[in-house]
Assembly symmetry: C2
């Protein structure tokens, strides 16, 4: 039987999601807990590799098991075995040929910025601090140019080896959330697309940040896309502001 | 010259605000940084003692100094010296006879609950998880009975030695904030009063939580107040959901 689990985690204390020998990883913790629970060696297959420090509300893993534990019991049982910064939110049986990196309709990410003169300490692990007041309208104006099918070479790590850099962004918007405290706001960039290149969301966030601070004009984003050159876009923002929110499948 | 600073901090890694030998405390970190900055021994006086794990957006400290550093330079200078989980948000000169525990108009606290079947990991350090769906309307109905001047003996730690347990609550309300993810919501209890007894906010939060889950009826809060007995009220919720938001002075 193949089971799909949806996992939320706080990436602060992990060296990323993908398993690495002798380092704390999300996959490592899930494999340990599942092997203990099912009394057999389990190796999960993940939908998205998240970097060290990146958080998740909805990363998807699958595994095969002969266990007779009812599938609906897996979340609560696993949650007694994994550390409190990892939670299995749900579990369900899937077809044996289901693969979490295939049949993806869309993935949604959020990038959180804290824009205020001085950083709010309780937000530091879950957002990136920008001392500058961000112009949300300009950021949204620029965001519109990225929606649709484009070659995102300028918005992916130069290390990326994937041949095609063409991806489709369905939605990209910037909003503030929660109450303003001091002059700090939670500025949330939400992006939904059919797939993302390495560092793509963090580079989009860095480029929109530069538009919000006035360093870049909104319409310059057209030229940045056309250049197909990583150096044309803004900085790769740090992992702690990034959240993988949801992955939807055509199943 | 006497200077007042407003401090925000993440209480997770501290043994409370009040100085203790050989333990990490907010006062200890502020004293060290101020002594280094002003080249003289500084001991701050705090407005509110916050317990280990309690967070702050606005705790107030004062200190005396002969330093010639302009007062407006203190926040950025101190923030290079204290750890990133403490930030000095502002500084201003006050009268020499100002004391941060006197002349208080009101203090505002928030208590954050995460109500969903499974806890969201990235909220675990800043809210208390309740597996039950909370009835916000009933919590607000009960909250109304606590507004005004009352003897809050039932809502303070039995260890409290203060003679008068009479305090005035000006505002107390419960709301949800942010987007719902899974079935989890951020439920925020906000309370503003002229002063609070030891553990009072955490006991009010525990009592309102019991009303939200249906364990206690909203109008039972009247009898709980009248009993003047700590055992009549709900549990003292853990420190990690508590935030000292603001202290206002009559100056």
């Amino acid at each position: 039987m193949k089971i799909m689990i949806i996992t939320a985690y706080d990436g602060t204390n992990y060296c990323g999601s993908q398993i690495q020998p002798d380092k704390p990883t999300i996959e490592g913790k899930l494999n340990e807990a599942l092997s203990e629970l099912t009394k057999a060696e389990v190796k999960v297959t993940g939908a998205s590799r998240t970097d060290a420090g990146v958080h998740s509300y909805g990363n998807v893993y699958t595994f095969d098991t002969f266990s007779h534990i009812p599938v609906e019991k897996f979340p609560l049982a696993l949650n007694t075995m994994v550390p409190p910064d990892i939670r299995v939110m749900s579990a369900k049986e899937v077809r044996d040929d289901f693969h979490p990196r295939h049949g993806v309709i869309d993935k949604t990410y959020e990038y959180h910025l804290d824009d205020g003169f001085i950083e709010i300490p309780t937000k530091r692990l879950y957002s990136y601090h920008v001392r500058h007041r961000l112009d949300i309208d300009k950021m949204n104006e620029a965001a519109k140019y990225l929606i649709g099918e484009h070659d995102f070479t300028s918005f992916c790590s130069a290390k990326t080896e994937k041949e095609s850099k063409v991806r489709t962004i369905f939605d990209l918007n910037v909003k503030t959330a929660g109450e303003q405290i001091y002059d700090n706001r939670d500025v949330i960039i939400t992006v939904r697309g059919n797939g993302f290149l390495y560092n793509m969301v963090r580079i989009i966030a860095g480029t929109l940040m530069n538009i919000g601070t006035g360093k870049t004009d909104p319409n310059e984003i057209i030229a940045i896309l056309e250049k197909k050159d990583r150096a044309a876009a803004g900085p790769t923002l740090p992992p702690n502001g990034l959240f993988l929110m949801e992955i939807r499948y055509d199943i």
